[in-house]
Symmetry: C2
Amino acid sequence: MRLATVRVDAETTRAAVVDADSWVLLEAGDVGALIARDGWREEVATALRTGADRVAVADAEFVRPLLAPSKIFCCGLNYRDHIVETGRDVPAHPTLFAKFADTLADPTADIVVRGSSKVDWEAELAVVVGTTLRDADRDEAAAGILGYTVANDVSMRDWQSRTLQWLQGKAWDASTPIGPSIVTADALEPRDGLRIECLVDDEVMQSSSTAELVFDAAELVSYVSGFTTLRPGDIVLTGTPGGVGMGRSPQRWIADGETVITRIEGIGELRNRFTVTPGDDR
Amino acid sequence: MRLATVRVDAETTRAAVVDADSWVLLEAGDVGALIARDGWREEVATALRTGADRVAVADAEFVRPLLAPSKIFCCGLNYRDHIVETGRDVPAHPTLFAKFADTLADPTADIVVRGSSKVDWEAELAVVVGTTLRDADRDEAAAGILGYTVANDVSMRDWQSRTLQWLQGKAWDASTPIGPSIVTADALEPRDGLRIECLVDDEVMQSSSTAELVFDAAELVSYVSGFTTLRPGDIVLTGTPGGVGMGRSPQRWIADGETVITRIEGIGELRNRFTVTPGDDR
């Protein structure tokens, strides 16, 4: 199953499920509101049988699938090849930091960054939580995953490195594109190895496989649930592979006007044009 | 003005404002819901004139004043004396990390920690945001502060030090007590120097002054608003003074059954008994 949140008009969005060459609109403002309801899978099945509100796939305008996640966790240093490029050892525990709902951007949004001179890309597999989880073991965590989507953990490296904690370089409003759709976990297994890529103005900067993940989706969800509650629509970004701008020689940053494409095989593609006003003097 | 959220019955809480020896109950479930409304100051003034629903100060049972903040920022390394004890230099920028609404606990809650052997205290002045702020300069930020309350940024040091990022030692559900009430900014200026203290089983562990803050409330709020939106009810914890367990020789952790008192002159006091089950093998 593939779920998304599509724009219906200037003020309205709807959760939707794909059915051949159309998206069937559901009675919820986004995927998060949909899956928070008991019985949502039956609602989707009914809509697929009867749904009159449809949008052709070619006409669909996607917004970020989750409009109001209560928690977004991000894992750093989680691809073996990226760990090598930072010069670190494979970690015993996942390195975790947070983003906010405000940090997310739509899958084709223009990303406006004002006040950073080191804007970097980080293609990431995003895990969407499907149920309430606390102290979940690996099997419970795996069963609680709704599915997977694509994200780019865009990072302002000058701000990220100002202090020991990365948050201020990672949580800029409307800077992390995500989407366009969620493939449910029954249809996809990232451990099998999905090609994950990031292109800047058509140059391939990152190209790896989700099989390179040190901590996989179920492990991360289980680990986080050991100290806090995860709820339907919460998101765990699983880290980025090698090839980020910071790790290149010479280093390379996203320039004003460049377009970043982020894609994962079998899931989808983000396409975001950047408007960058340099400077980090705030 | 002093605001709080008080328990009315098992299922109900109400925002309240103090009036001499009673709390006047307001038409909102917590202070966050109250201040999110335009005209809330007029509502409070009307309630103070006419409010029939009152609870005697001696009978009030407080819950955390903000039940659902959308963002909680915490500043590390922000008291000159604590910076000295960690062996670091006075920073050029605030060190920021996040907590979640789930991380907060009521001001007299039992704090249950299962799976850490290094539970530490961090008495902190908490700033409550009163209006929506983005790219606020210092004066705008100062004008956007609702007021101040007391928090303890309880930290699981074994988890905090597992990786470079502190979040997993800082964001355990129901581990950060906050409250009991908010003193509005017109009535209090932390830069003037308020005594801030933490006691563990009646032993004074921290005793400093909010005049020791490197980045004060307005600076922190302004800085954060430079990259993300702050909204009414959001919280900024301003960091802790010297005297934490990690910085002592020998190191000292909160033991099972101990009671931690956190207090700031002119604001209030938290009193939390701890139930600690050691171990960090998850």
